[in-house]
Symmetry: D2
């Protein structure tokens, strides 16, 4: 009898991060994968990750629409409430042996609560990190609900242990996103045309001589400032006049501040050097990054995959605060001038080396093996 | 402009525990109380705490029915999901400055998530303790979502700090339930007739020469065993042949195992020495305890108020595991013989002294004063 | 490619009513049955119909817990809201060609709304009847959401047509509950012992020389009177001193008024002639009815199956108002004396003849055949 | 003691339609208005009607965010389910004497179910009309749940009576939207600049010599065709080369088909004669209509207010099918050529006369007076 492992994917970047673990679970002789796709992973506004998932060959055990629309934080809370209501029914019907929840987006709390309240052993991927907003509360809160911890760095492992978790069930597997990065580490050149393959809107600049990639998410606890934040980045890159491939932000309270900022800037400025994408196959995205001049924004991709790939990163603001990092990252404030200065610095320095601070590229395999072996328990007490 | 303090009460025992803090908030010149009553506090099966609350003179800002019916743990998860959906709307409409959540019942997570996701500063009462079931996960998880911590003992304070919370915002106020106990510490004799005042069902034994009080809740992660657990207690007290005043358990997954056990035992045995109550005014309950021979079961009242009142307690099973305790507690397993042995031990020993391990009786005042003074923040990062 | 027919069963009596249609759908070569079990059909308090369903050999495609606990009507509304949330996900995942909703219980509205809003063709069983409470609003409201109508009598057919439905899609199939009744029409004697087979509580009167069956539900719009209503019946039968087999009521707002009334009466009276059952296999229940002296209460079983079986019925109150009936029914008010008078009348009259006012016993087959043949549409306009 | 009248507004056009009734209720000496704002009326994407409501001086008793995001019909069903959950709590806390629900948008069913299930007398505004999609099912279904009917035409009154409603409680008040139209019937010229007052995007054509207004909503049961539908209109008006003031559609499943169609057309065509608005004060909107060459699309404004104002209307497709109409309407299919032909016909004909088919301009007052006088009942049976 195979162990049934139910993984809940709620957003495009989470899927990209977990993909190699999903492959490893699916291919493991003692595991059966039950994949649930929910929240923004189902929505067109955020790139419809579900289509990528299906075209990657995964069967979807259940889809759960639970994103409540609204420009305020209330919607984030209610999205989580609806998620609990529905995931409880899904788990009741799928009857998994272990549920896996990924990282720290607000709605992942729904997975954690449904599973832990239903006495289903819960595994958390990427606990123990530190950032600067609601994700911070969510992440450590989920750690306290989880039975197994698959963390991505030594630093994170120490923190989960310090939170009073059982040392026998905390594992530094590295981050599965690195597994994917490993497969393209030595790719000589970009092997696809992003404009023709992925559409999107905006200009089609010549990217042969280099380009920048931007991915900047709103920071939930600073909703009202989202627009100002994005405008600094827009102004810096507008002034730079080099090709820019810009990725649309995920759903979040404040998303509309960011989106509005981008739309308004486009109405009033010549952005022929900018192209906007909604989504991209994760592997293609990594290829695009690895051949770029650098990544600008606040995505965790800059901290993780780019460390491994040796891609320079201009990390804006507090979102990735205190996450362990390689030497590829320049931290700046929401400031046009700081961004431009960092761009110059990157241009004048050699490419950073690859770093294994987030693992060596076998996290997915390690996670699958551990899921097959860990004792099935859902009862714990704090260690201190 | 007064600070608006929204307290969410979801169960009879939580109300009893928080009552003096509610009084102090209501009477504080710089605070406005917004009292929300939800979940089992509204239901007749669990004693309709809401009527007590109203007759105690509190205005209720909103009522939220969110208990999903069912004999399984799925219902507990879904109850929490519905709670989030509804409390988010309530908070959106009441617009509080601080939300207060109490202790560690599963559904209190709904309060914590709604408030923290909506960027409302969140105060948690009675974090940092240790017990043996899902409450354990819930309690520490709520600590990680909360901004202020009003803990009940030094032991709890240390644990909250070890969880990485900001030392400036962790306060050992003692437990407000002790405040209530303080008012009856020197009451010479029981000043009401429990049968005529509170009804209930069963025999009406002569309690003049002493009686035992029972309050035993099901332990959520051991659902299937609930009935066996309660039967050991029933058999022990049936054999003892002394008056027993028995309080019905709270809602919880498994509640029906416990209830069924009690009902079946009543059908088949002479329980003329037993009387069953659904609920009692908190103060009357403390009076009843203080004049009893002792409390039997697994209620936290035995650990807290009974320590202060010097009432002997036979604490059954793992539910109160590792909570700080005075010298009034005898721990036993689910075992008729161990229970009977502990009863004998109590009879042959002197009454325990009063202990201030859970505070000195001014917790409510301290909490109100702190709520008026703490900085209004909802942004934190772990201290390590 | 078989048509996928999704039937949602939300209560024990609905299952009993639809069972032969479920069999016929399951056995039809062009249909695939997707059975969803929800609401009180899953709850122990109401007899756990789900266990009967499983032991009858049906596969359950999904279970949905959605009964919100509470003594008020708010809970009925919220139960329906949760039902919509969850059934929408279930339908999204099952992707049925037709959804079938049964009769007029409040929560069946959830099935109707989810299916019709999702453009899934909706079939309604047992529209067009008239009763005296919220069911009345629900029933006709569902008719206006439905695309196909499988009604149980000519009278009902006329009413659905008068409501402006397309005559091509309104079918008088008779009631599938009659199909089951047909199988036991000529059973010579009761072939099981109800006490030993079904447990229950109360006395075990000698039923060899005859017995009465009681099934009386609370009437939702008269909540406060539920207890008085049930007491008249209790008093009448207590005075009669003949064996009574009493069936516990379904979940409904007010259920607790009825239940409380029964429990209180039991505490204070000798009910050794009464036995209380929670549930019974539908077929056994019909056998029990067919060999009884008569059915007392307000169940629709009295109007339908008992008409076909020729069982005398004392129909109390307004609940079955204006439903077409055979000559087996005596209508009385909530009145001990009227009930006793009707009992005497039954005793002095010959047994009623069988009536086919609710069909001839092939409704299930007819419904399955129609489900295989009707055009798949979800778009309609009123005919006038 | 004033009667508490709770009106639930869920969308911008519903507010505009009900505004004069809200005024009349607020000013009535025996009525107290409890205004609940929910669903898309709260969302920026649909014009944030809530801000208009507040600036019009209404107090809002509760706000309810319940729009679930998604490109499919599942989201519409779930939005309704969440609405029921939340409105039940709102009604439980507000305790209204009568609830008022408006027209036939899918989410208004939530208001109807919560009120009727909670035994709160329910008034329905604008029942009895006939259209061509899910609204049709919703409208008549709500009629069957409602106790009072305030219809807008004789035709509608007859249909509600034919549905079996009590003639004493069906009132042809006319449509309150006409009340507003009446106040501007004789306005000599447009007295504001729509571009400067309302922003929006697109060209700023010279509207002095006339302009067309477009408001075309997606038709829910034909989701996949939404884009084709809108493109015919876009092409026709692009070819016409006259000024066009275009209003963005409401939220609905398929909204994104329509929106996508508009956005794509804008990317690829010169739309300097088009200006796009998200929302407008209802009165300003009527002024704009009354001075336009005509309204194009499928809004009910064309059928109602434009009949009274004598504005020519090109009504596209089936959405307003079978609604009573004045002689101002030309019906066409989704067809560029038919639209252009109808435009020519309007240009060559005299302006239509004002029609009172939807009332004489005192509907709001009539509704308020009736709400103060009708008996408070929630119990009905069908009349046939």
């Amino acid at each position: 009898m195979k162990r049934k492992i139910c993984v809940v994917v709620t957003a495009r970047p989470s899927y990209s991060r977990i993909k190699t673990a999903l492959d490893a679970i699916q291919n493991h002789p003692e595991l059966e994968l039950q994949l649930v796709v929910a929240a923004s992973a189902l929505l067109e506004r955020y790139g419809t990750a579900v289509r990528t998932i299906e075209s990657d060959g995964f069967n979807i055990a259940a889809k759960v629409f639970n994103v409540l629309e609204g420009e305020n934080l209330t919607a984030a809370a209610k999205t989580t409430g609806i998620g609990i209501l529905e995931l409880s029914t899904v788990f009741d019907n799928l009857n998994p042996d272990i549920v896996v929840t990924i990282a720290d987006r607000f709605e992942t709390m729904a997975t954690a609560i449904s599973a832990s309240y239903m006495n289903i052993p819960l595994a958390h991927i990427q606990g123990g990190e530190v950032t600067g907003n609601i994700d911070e509360k969510v992440r450590h809160s989920i750690t306290k609900l989880s039975d197994y911890h698959f963390v991505a760095s030594e630093n994170a492992k120490k923190r989960v242990l310090d939170l009073g978790e059982n040392p026998d069930l905390v594992f530094n597997t590295g981050c599965p996103s690195i597994d994917l990065a490993k497969t393209i580490l030595d790719l000589p050149k970009l092997d696809f045309n992003p404009f023709s393959k992925y559409g999107g809107v905006g200009g089609k600049p010549d990217i042969e001589k280099g380009y920048w990639v931007v991915m900047q998410h709103p920071v939930t606890t600073e909703v009202s400032q989202s627009r100002m934040h994005i405008e600094e980045t827009l102004k810096a890159l507008h002034e730079l006049k080099e090709p820019v491939l810009w990725f649309w932000p995920n759903v979040d309270a404040g998303a509309d501040g960011t989106s509005t900022g981008i739309r308004a800037f486009r109405e009033n400025n010549d952005l022929s050097q900018f192209h906007f994408f909604k989504n991209m196959d994760p592997l293609d995205f990594l290829k695009l990054l690895s051949h770029s001049k650098g990544l600008i924004g606040n995505s965790s991709v800059g901290i993780r995959e780019c460390a491994f790939l040796g891609v320079p990163v201009i990390n804006i603001g507090t979102r990735q605060n205190r996450r362990a990092r390689g030497n590829n990252v320049l931290d700046v404030n929401y400031s046009k001038s700081e961004i431009l200065e960092a761009i110059n610095q990157i241009k004048s320095n050699p490419r950073p080396d690859s770093s294994d601070v987030y693992g060596g590229g076998d996290a997915g395999i390690q996670i699958a093996n551990l899921l097959a072996e860990v004792p099935l328990i859902f009862h714990k007490t704090i260690t201190f």
